[in-house]
Symmetry: D3
Subunit: 230 residues, 6 copies
Amino acid sequence: MKTVVVRNIHRTDAALVKRLGALGASTVHEAYGRIGLMKPYLRPAWAGGEAAGSAVTVLTHPGDNWMIHVAVEQCRPGDILVVGCTADNTDGMFGDLLATSLKARGVVGLVIDAGCRDVKSLREMGFPVWSKAISAKGTVKATLGAVNVPVVCAGVNVYPGDAVIADDDGVVVIGRKDAGDVAAKAEKRHADEEGKRRKLAAGALGLDMYNMREALASAGLVYVDGPEPD
Amino acid sequence: MKTVVVRNIHRTDAALVKRLGALGASTVHEAYGRIGLMKPYLRPAWAGGEAAGSAVTVLTHPGDNWMIHVAVEQCRPGDILVVGCTADNTDGMFGDLLATSLKARGVVGLVIDAGCRDVKSLREMGFPVWSKAISAKGTVKATLGAVNVPVVCAGVNVYPGDAVIADDDGVVVIGRKDAGDVAAKAEKRHADEEGKRRKLAAGALGLDMYNMREALASAGLVYVDGPEPD
Amino acid sequence: MKTVVVRNIHRTDAALVKRLGALGASTVHEAYGRIGLMKPYLRPAWAGGEAAGSAVTVLTHPGDNWMIHVAVEQCRPGDILVVGCTADNTDGMFGDLLATSLKARGVVGLVIDAGCRDVKSLREMGFPVWSKAISAKGTVKATLGAVNVPVVCAGVNVYPGDAVIADDDGVVVIGRKDAGDVAAKAEKRHADEEGKRRKLAAGALGLDMYNMREALASAGLVYVDGPEPD
Amino acid sequence: MKTVVVRNIHRTDAALVKRLGALGASTVHEAYGRIGLMKPYLRPAWAGGEAAGSAVTVLTHPGDNWMIHVAVEQCRPGDILVVGCTADNTDGMFGDLLATSLKARGVVGLVIDAGCRDVKSLREMGFPVWSKAISAKGTVKATLGAVNVPVVCAGVNVYPGDAVIADDDGVVVIGRKDAGDVAAKAEKRHADEEGKRRKLAAGALGLDMYNMREALASAGLVYVDGPEPD
Amino acid sequence: MKTVVVRNIHRTDAALVKRLGALGASTVHEAYGRIGLMKPYLRPAWAGGEAAGSAVTVLTHPGDNWMIHVAVEQCRPGDILVVGCTADNTDGMFGDLLATSLKARGVVGLVIDAGCRDVKSLREMGFPVWSKAISAKGTVKATLGAVNVPVVCAGVNVYPGDAVIADDDGVVVIGRKDAGDVAAKAEKRHADEEGKRRKLAAGALGLDMYNMREALASAGLVYVDGPEPD
Amino acid sequence: MKTVVVRNIHRTDAALVKRLGALGASTVHEAYGRIGLMKPYLRPAWAGGEAAGSAVTVLTHPGDNWMIHVAVEQCRPGDILVVGCTADNTDGMFGDLLATSLKARGVVGLVIDAGCRDVKSLREMGFPVWSKAISAKGTVKATLGAVNVPVVCAGVNVYPGDAVIADDDGVVVIGRKDAGDVAAKAEKRHADEEGKRRKLAAGALGLDMYNMREALASAGLVYVDGPEPD
């Protein structure tokens, strides 16, 4: 492994990140063709947190958070830190001191394929974290990893500068160069959904609204009456 | 598999459902002889939600929510939708558009042996969902399943019209024809518990209240003194 | 197995327990040399609960909570009940009646390597529980276990009278005779962290504050510039 | 729960069971419309075991194998024992003594949604078992369940007398009255596969053999050339 | 944590270990009152391996196998190495070089609450290993742990010198001072089982052999006839 | 997602693949700096299988194996098929018909982050598969994915043409351009290990061979004598 820190990465345009964040993970994920979603075992450390940022990536080893300390220096306002690990690990690699430091630099959140701790403080600070586990287990600073190289985090390969949208529904990663296209598609989808929501609330059926009845019949769906009253 | 939709099912009497719902999943489960409980991996999408309804059942395939759309039309006020899947799946088969549609029809909640999404909206709408995962992953509409046939959901075989009681403790299913008997037993149990609760709060021991001492002694339980003070 | 109840155990000094509890699980765990942490699959039944107490230990069999009833009698104010099980089990061995009884005796919380139920009531009572699962599944009273013998709970061997510190970050167990030393170290650590937190909030880098740069360089870390602007 | 033993159940015709067993779990599952498959966490206790039989069903509680002893008496030659449990459990409910007893009665195998033990003996006896875990953990005989009622086992609702086909690919359950139809379809499928297998072995492409190219193109699949040689 | 290596531990008498090993994990576990069994997620790295030895214990940190190297020196012929870890970890802490070294010292096997690798070589060497995972992931040598202190491994607290019996059914730990008593009880149990096995093979029912019928009836078990022939 | 098939990819040099394969997954993984290892939940469908090839990559959706059929056409002798999935899935996407087709084209194995089936046939054919599950569950052909784009499989981002080394220890991926360097380092490591193995077999201690004693002492390791004989 190249034990390297890459400086001066390209970031997703901040205005695009903002537009994507306003739409939320599920809508963005759909607009991106249903790819880019991290595994659902990643959960928010506290409910209701939301974050959208440009990724600074970190590659760590199990039980070792040295490279997170290294990564802090590379962060700028609007970034989100994305931490992958070379093997399964639930140790509490991240806590309130690192969050304080990231917040001071304008970082909007953390996504980590391992554990975090100091959950109460993180919630009070309003610093959102998505992690695989909550664990008080402390870590060492013994082995080098890398910063701002592509890392796999919870099943998604993240490039430095990718747009990351995270909320209660999960974490979605959009390629930096795809962000504009996806934002436009997602906004259209969002607008369409508003109309659908009103119709459904008024009692319309999706079966009719989406014109499903013919396809269902030709696929062989049969309607039968239930049993006689008993 | 019969790709069928059964209409006009028998439902559990609404008054019985209401009585069962007032008692909660744990009490009802005990009164039913400790059966009918779905696996504890099903969790509420938002804490504090409660629902009691008569089951409309749906059988789906992994990554495919077509039949949920079909099922909506079969729902009536007081129903609860119960979705099984032919294989393990965590995709977000259900979100706020479907919830809007179900709510418009008077459906009281959803139980799904797969994933859901739009958690924030569901909480704001007050539409309770119990699911295996929260996942933004979208699904296709490609393969038929069935509506209102018996389905296994989280380890329990659910018949259309069964009573389903769900809260923070989990999801319990009561056979339609057993509902009256179970409601009566559960109410008696609930009444008994009130008295026990008062006694225990006043300092009584369960050992005495339940007359356990003799059985424990005859089973061989021995009391010994601990070590000397150090 | 000796089916025994040990009375009159030695407890951790209440003042030490209080000091440890004020510091929280993560800080105490670090001060103890990163041991004593239960597995992170133990989660609080309701968010925000905190407890620090002297352990009364219980050994149970799967699906059987008889010995918890036996243990209640051995509890004193300031105790925390720690329940191990001879095999994996998620059944709801503990609910609001037992919580009422424990609260009446001054017990501050429960840690159980199995399931609990009546979550809503526990939250309303303010009785904190850390468990492996939430499950309405009721249990029998058929097989003897033991009270106040050493038990393994979620990966940690707990002796009767050990100090147990539990919060949103997890559950840490401190040997009774180590409690004074650990409290002193943890308080020093806590005081140090306050200063660090202020510096980091003001923009200092951990890289400098912890003097990491030299060690990183000698381990071979290389900084490179990112790609040209595109 | 009705603590009941049902005698004299209807069984699937032995000749049909034999035909289904000769085809194997995967082929039968496909012919049945891709339903009836138990969850893949059920694994053979020893590789290579195969069984096909008519189900005698057992409902147990966690850590309690009393009802398996009761069920033995209800078994006849050609039966396969299917054991469900009211909650998750990995205890070793079944071992070589019970296997000896079942074998003496002509039972062809065991499927259990819990643990088994004595794996070495089972392999030496040639008695095939599909289980959720292998565990030496012994169980009690304290709580009644039922025999020959419908039970959910590893996600499938099994009726007494259903056909159960189990091999290295898993366990499939066929409704007793569907067995003839499924056997016919599965045999046709098997015959078709032989022809396909020969063509594919000779170099034919599934793309052509299944006429997929047009559907792929109309769905939007695009072929592009890879990068220039480097 | 005390970073200590304890030399000259007491070991379980070799003759007792041999007697226990001859009986196997399941029988020994039963004779010990159904305690001492490690969690069933520990599995043999290769099927059919068996080991019985006196425990040399190791406490490691995730991703760090330094202390295993330290422990080798403390091993004597007839020992079995038992490795616990302060947090969940699946890394391959143990491979064929360490196995070669242990074998040279007469060690009979390894039990590790983490991962192992070089499975093919281990099988060819005939060196049995029980582990939580098989993983090629290499580990560092950065953090001290301990040797020959009590360690929790897969849910069991193991003292140096305890008897460890491992086979396809799992891993059981017997307290050093209990080994004689347990060996005697287990041998009696084994002898009794031989007689039972013969009777069962001859067609006797456990219901009769264990005199269960009366207890079942008084517990409320009811026998009913099945449906009419169809 | 781009629903694209990339033809004419660059492959890892066949001679390099052969050299890497001869060394095995664990040695190659170490030589690569302990990266590139897929998660240990991937297991061989049959023990003892080994494969080394150049990756043809496939991206699928849960429960849908359409793109595997598409990928076959792109395979050449010496390739290994690597299948990722956009969400967690255990369905049996791959069986003996596809294996027959791949074998006919000279493909050396399959790695799939989902399920496979027809295990018995795969073993008899000698076609090695590493999968997340074994499941008879059939799949549909409804949704496009991609072939020969980068895919994440079991936690590793795989580029078309990367070298993939798989055996009982797991699956390691080496970047195409790194293969030569890694092969050289791994061969050196392998040669060194032979010498170490001989020394260890002769009774040398790793503590001495690796010069660990000084580092251990300076880290604070203390040796103490055990208890007096009892």
